[in-house]
């Protein structure tokens, strides 16, 4: 699946873009409310994102393969670019999920956005301190999702540009070495 998803134009070295496919972000959404799941899924689809929705933090960890059981899917195939999670959930909260993700070497680089219906400043601070990318008040707006998507795509573009630049430098370096050798 990873091979199908990865565009050939990005296949330039080990440091490839982590986009699920060109220009398509894969978002993992976590919410215990069935209404909110339907809503966030639609917001993300309308924003041209690939979406996987789960109903609990535990299921999210299972999906990512962080629950201690063997991965059924390798990390490369998952290619999650963003995790959006509700804060208040029974069992494991979104905050606890955030911590688990940031503790994981495989997934700590994935931006995590917390969603909450309650505008509680200490809660927001705590999440941001723990490494949350953003904190969105529910109901989430389409504009919020689009803004997230755009900033992530820009970041990916930045990574891509850096890789291309690095490649250019490497190529120039090899060229100069060859030139020197000839002299």
């Amino acid at each position: 699946m990873a091979e199908v998803m990865r565009s050939e134009t990005l296949n330039i070295s080990n440091n490839t873009s982590s986009l699920a496919s060109p220009e398509l972000l894969h978002v993992l959404a976590v919410d215990d409310s069935i209404v909110d799941r339907k809503f966030i899924e639609r917001l993300l689809r309308v924003s041209s994102c690939k979406v996987t929705v789960v109903d609990s933090a535990t299921r999210a960890l299972q999906y990512l393969g962080l629950d201690g059981d063997n991965n059924s899917v390798g990390f490369d195939d998952l290619k999650i670019n963003l995790i959006m999670t509700d804060y208040s959930m029974p069992g494991m909260t979104g905050y606890e999920l955030l911590k688990k993700i940031k503790e994981s070497s495989a997934f700590r680089e994935i931006p995590v956005v917390i969603m909450s219906s309650e505008n509680i400043l200490p809660r927001i601070d705590r999440c941001l301190e723990e490494g949350a990318e953003d904190f969105l008040l529910k109901p989430v707006k389409l504009a919020d999702v689009k803004r997230l998507r755009d900033s992530l795509l820009k970041a990916e573009e930045g990574v891509f540009k850096n890789i291309m630049h690095k490649r250019e430098l490497e190529a120039n370096d090899i060229y100069s070495q060859l030139k020197r050798a000839k002299i």
Binding site: D32, S33, I34, V35, D36, K38, F39, R42, L43, V46, S88, S117, K138, P139, K141, L142
Partner: protein, 145 residues
């Protein structure tokens, strides 16, 4: 007929049954997903019926576990907010205040009102969606200009 649909929606907004969030949901509809709002509403009423049942049972037991009640109501308020059910949302907020104050009488009274608002909204939305389906998908799927 399409004008009729628009007028019904406007009246639901004007009377405060629905708020801006409902309009946001309609904005997410398109030709490929013309019934999105109705689908969300269906999920909402199914889910909220379950919550109402849970709260009814909890209140009937007479034990008044305010934490548990507040928890149910937090969920109820959340989904009501997501669909734009304004009056229901207001009742949820009041109920939670009574929970926090440990006011059983207030909880019972508010819950009765909440169920009334919920039933009214359900009926009105059923009428609205039925009419909208009859009127045809194109006009109702988008926000009127």
């Amino acid at each position: 007929m399409q004008r009729q649909v628009a007028l019904i929606k406007q009246s639901l907004l004007d009377q405060g049954y629905l708020d801006e969030q409902f309009m946001e949901l309609e904005e997410l509809q398109d030709d490929a997903n013309p019934n999105f709002v109705e689908e969300v509403a269906t999920l909402y009423f199914k889910d909220s019926a379950r919550l109402i049942n849970n709260i009814d049972q909890a209140l009937e037991r007479g034990s008044f576990d305010f934490n548990r009640l507040d928890n149910y109501m937090h969920q109820f308020k959340g989904s009501s907010t997501s669909i734009g059910a304004s009056k229901v949302k207001t009742e949820c907020t009041m109920f939670r205040e009574y929970c926090r104050a440990g006011n059983a009488e207030g909880c019972l009274r508010t819950f009765k009102q909440l169920k009334k608002e919920h039933a009214t909204l359900r009926k009105k939305l059923e009428q609205y969606f039925q009419l909208a389906r009859q009127a045809g998908p194109k006009e109702t799927a988008r926000r009127p200009k």
